[in-house]
Amino acid sequence: MSYFFKKQLPIILASLAGVLMVAAYFLPWQPLQDIKGLMTNWIVVISAATVAMGFVYMTTAQIKMYQKNKTTLQLIYTITPYVFFTGFALSAVFYPGGSQSPEYQWWFSNIYSNVGATIYAIMYFTLASSAYRTFRVSSIEATALIAGGMIYTLRQIPLFQVYTPWIVPLGEWFLLVPNTGGGRGAVIAAALAALVVGIRTLWGKEATLEVQG
C-alpha cells in the first residue's frame, strides 16, 4: 500500500471530519447539522462493529493464559465469561422483546447489576485504606490536607454543628474558595491542553496518529 493511502489519506479524512464537526459547532447551518448527525450515527455503527474485534482479543488472551496455567481453576476462569456471554446473547435473541424481555432483564438484574454493585462497594474500602496512608501527618502538605479534610467533614456532623458552630462557615469556605478556585484553575488548564491536542490533530500533526504499527 502506498504511503499516501496508508498514512496521508486517513489523516486527511480525520482532519476533514474534525473541521466539519468544529464548523457545525460554530455555524447553525442545517446542512452542517445534518452532516454532524450522520457522522454521529456512523460512530455508533463503527463502535458496535468493532466489539467483535475486542472479542477476538479477549479470546486470544484467555487461551494463552490457560495454556500457561493448565489448572481446573484457570479453566473455570477461562470458560465463565463465555458461558455468561452465551446466556445473555441467547436470552436476547430467542425471547420476544430482545434485551427488554423479562428473561434477559432477569439475567441483567440478578447477575450483572449485583456483581457491579458488589465491586462498587469495594471501592469504599480501597478509598479508606488509601485515605489512611494519605492523611498520615508526615509533612506540611499532609497536615494541611488533613486539617482541611477534617474541617470539611466535621461540618456535616450535627454534634459539631451544635457545639462548634464556627466549623460550618469555615468548612463552606474551604469548599467554595480554595477548593473551587484551585479546581477551576486546573480544569481550565486541562481544557486548554485538550484544545491544543485537538488543533494539532486537525492540523494532521498529532504524533500518536503517525505511528506505523
Binding site: Y57, M58, L127, S130, V197, Q212, G213
Partner: protein, 267 residues
Amino acid sequence: MLLGILADGTLQPLILLAVLVAATYNYNRKAFAGEIKADQLREIPAIAAITEGVGKSVEEGKPVHYAMGASGGQLYTQLVSMTLVSLAFLNYISKLCAKFEAKLIVHMPYQAESIPLIEAMVRDGYKSEGKEGDFQQSCLRYYGQGALSWTQAVTASYDQEGVGLNLSIGIFYSDCPISLEMAKIKGGMNVGGTGRWIMVYCFAMMCDYVFLGQEIYVAGAIVSGNPLMLAGVWIEDAGKFYSLLLLGLGLLAALLGVGAVTALFGL
C-alpha cells in the same frame, strides 16, 4: 455581520480558538526551526519514576501493567485528547519494556474501536527498539463493556500475574480507586494521572508518583520527544495568558460596574 452567522454564545470560544490556532502556527514554526527542546521544560519526577518502575518490575520478575481506564479509548468525545496522550505514554512504556525486556500487559478500554491504535502503539514501541519479535498479542487484554467488569479483570490480573509497575494514564471514572489501590496492595508501584479533575484525588492518594491534571499533556509531549508535541506546551501557555487577560478584563469591568465585556462575550 459575523455575529449573525455564528451560533448563539460561540463568539468567545471562536476567539479562543483563533488565538490558539495563531499560537499553533507560530510555535510549530519554531519547533520546525529546532528552537523548542524538552530541556526548556521543568522536570516532572513521575516521568523518571516510570523507568524506575520498569527496572523494579524486571528485578522482581513481575509484569508492567498499563491501563488507560475502562473508558479510556474515547475517540469521538471531548475527552479524545486524553486518549491520544495515553497512547503516547503507551508507546513510551512499550519502548521501555522492549528495551529492558520487561513483560508488558495492556488493559484495553471497552471502546474496541481504539484497539488498532493501541496495538499500533505497542508494536511501534517494540519495533523502535528492534525487538518486534518480542511483541505478543496476548498482552493486549480486552474485557468487554462496563467499568466494573474491567475493574474486576484488571485486579484479577494483578493478583494472578503480579504487578511491578502499574502505569495508569487516561480517562478514569470510578474504575481507578479499586485498580490503583489493588496494585498498591499487591506490591506494585503506582504512577499515573488523569486530565479529569474530579478523579485526580484518587491518583493523588493512591499513586507513588502522580501527574496532576494537565501535567499528563506536558509529560506526554516530553516522553514522545516530538518537537510539535512539545510546542503544544507553549501554545497552551498562550491560551492561559488569554484566559488571564479575560479574567483581568472581567474583574476590572465588574469593579467599574461595566457590563460591556461580559455582554460582548455572552458570558
